[in-house]
Amino acid sequence: MVRLDKASKTYRTKHGDVQALDRVSLQIQKGELVIIRGPSGSGKTTLLLSAGGMLRPTEGHVIVNNNDIYAMSKRERAIFRAENIGFVFQLFHLVPYLNIIDNVLMPTGVGRSRFGQKDAKEWLNRLNLAERMHHRPSELSAGEKQRTAIARAMLKRPQIILADEPTGNLDPENSDEIIGYLAEYHSSGGTVIVVTHGKAVDQYADRIVYLKKGHIDKP
């Protein structure tokens, strides 16, 4: 489903090159929930963004659903991402001038989408945000913002959800709720890759991958 094949990523900085990923090979099967864990600077986010078609590796390949996504053109990759991958970030990244339902509907702005208002409302109901539908992100709590981001990621029912520290800014109660939604998505057959320091998601994980200095390490 998702395969990294000897993927390396080097960042060029003014202080010299930083090797974020070093010939990482990893295979994640369809329907798996995999946790990527490791200390800060170990390359977790780089791995996640590379797997999501957002960050081209310096070397190696990333294969998603049998497609070498970095062999695609930028435009093809963007469409592929829109149709197959949902993202959840630690900082939510909601669009500040759109209300909650419009934020959830953001993915429908790409290509011809069969999803619309009805689906967005359904997700907002399911995530207990129906009453907040017409509120702006600035009027929501952190937990509500992250639930909105989850609804946005799941609106088009992508095959893969990539979550980068989804509970990093949340209290334990909200963290459990968010993890619960990701687990629910996984149990319905979705593939979930979560970068997290927290342990709450461990009980739902099929696998935990440890990263250290850009390498896959043993726990």
């Binding site: 963004l49 957002m54 963007a78 429908t108 790409v110």
Partner: protein, 383 residues
């Protein structure tokens, strides 16, 4: 979620940036509109002045050596006095005042003087005009200030010129020119004194114009051509007048605005470009998440270019209204003669609607490209 809706919602959210950008477009459009609205009036006013005032001309014998003419102030050649009547009765020329002159520099009472014979002015048939040049009766003279002072002459005194007695009808005040050593007399008296009967060496034509159907076309060249047809042995010199001074002033104003308008446009475009760049910087994470959601480069660029086009359209309409209002309020104060010509020019609105969005889009092109080139992986990792 359409691009248009995203743009509108963003503009309503970031009102300050939107209003500042709009202000820049309004200023540029209003300046453009007010200038061209009053500019047409200014042009028409000059044409009207040219038409009403006409050219002030000196018509002299064609053979005149101009070098000598400018040195002495008169032509050494003559032409028939009948030329002035030919001109006066020709239907193709309009004029306010025509007068025939014969003048010569000569020595009188041991000093050099200009003896100038002036015929009574001819006014257009049926029109009574106040004489522009004084009319002197036969047997009388007007004497210049310097002559009167040095010879102790005054009004009512008698003088003898080449054996003929004249009464000084007027002792002229100091002019600070060669007129101070001039003796003016009736043309026929001077012709008699100089034994140059029926001869003149100049015709002064004031407010002279060709008669053409189109008042917009009336140039000195046309008039010269027409005069050449009537008086083939004469040539024409233009005396600078108020109309040509006004024309010069208008051209200078046009040149000035020819500099000001591009200058203001560049300043406003830079202003819009800087605001757009700030807008791009403020929206880095938004662009990042859009990229993550699959928005392509075209859609990202459209967010910024579309925003600029909308600002340009609103700015064009508001700028047209402001510019027209300014022109209608202040234009009549400046252009009194053609004040009624200052009216809203709808074609300027069309131009503004085309040019403003295009210039706004051009201004934000670089910021839009920087938004497209932004690496979402970097912005999405920023905390």
């Amino acid at each position: 979620m359409t691009t248009f809706r995203l743009i509108l919602k963003e503009m309503l959210q970031r009102k300050f940036n939107f209003l500042l950008s709009l202000l820049a477009v309004v200023i540029a459009a209003a300046l453009f509109v007010s200038f061209f609205t009053t500019g047409e009036s200014s042009k028409s006013e000059t044409i009207r002045l040219m038409r009403d005032i006409g050219f002030n001309l000196r018509i002299i014998p064609k053979k005149t050596n101009m070098e000598k003419f400018w040195q002495t102030g008169f032509s050494e050649y003559t032409m028939p006095e009948s030329h002035v009547y030919d001109l006066a009765t020709h239907g193709g020329i309009s004029y306010a005042h025509l007068t025939a002159i014969l003048q010569k520099k000569l020595t009188w009472e041991g000093r050099e003087v200009f003896l100038t014979g002036i015929a009574p002015e001819i006014s257009p048939p049926g029109k009574k005009k106040t004489p522009m040049i004084f009319s002197i009766e036969q047997g009388n003279v007007y004497i210049g200030y310097e002559i009167a002072q040095s010879l102790g002459l005054g009004k009512g005194d008698r003088i003898d010129i080449f054996g003929k007695s004249f009464i000084i009808a007027q002792s002229l005040s100091e002019s600070g020119s060669e007129d101070d050593i001039r003796i003016y007399a009736h043309l026929h008296d001077v012709q008699g004194l100089l034994k140059m009967e029926n001869s003149i060496n100049e015709i002064k034509a004031l407010q002279c114009l060709c008669i053409v159907n189109n008042e917009q076309i009336n140039s000195l060249e046309m008039l010269r051509e027409q005069l050449a047809g009537i008086l083939p042995d004469a040539k024409v010199i233009l005396i600078q007048n108020i109309a040509s001074a006004r024309e010069g002033q208008r051209l200078m104003a046009e040149r000035y605005f020819g500099f000001i308008i591009p200058f203001v446009s560049v300043v406003c475009m830079t202003w819009i470009g800087i605001l757009a760049m700030l807008n791009v910087r403020e929206r880095r994470q938004e662009i990042g998440i859009m990229r993550a959601l699959g928005y392509g480069s075209g859609k990202i660029a459209a967010l910024f270019l579309g925003r600029a086009v909308i600002i340009g359209l609103i700015g064009a309409v508001v700028g047209f209204s402001v510019g027209t209002s300014l022109a209608l309020k202040f234009g009549p104060v400046i252009f009194k003669v053609t004040a009624n010509m200052i009216e809203p020019r709808i074609q300027l609105l069309y131009w503004a609607i085309i040019a403003s969005p295009a210039m706004c889009a051009l201004s934000v092109f670089i910021p839009a490209m920087s938004a497209v080139a932004q690496d979402p992986a970097i912005t999405l990792r920023e905390e």
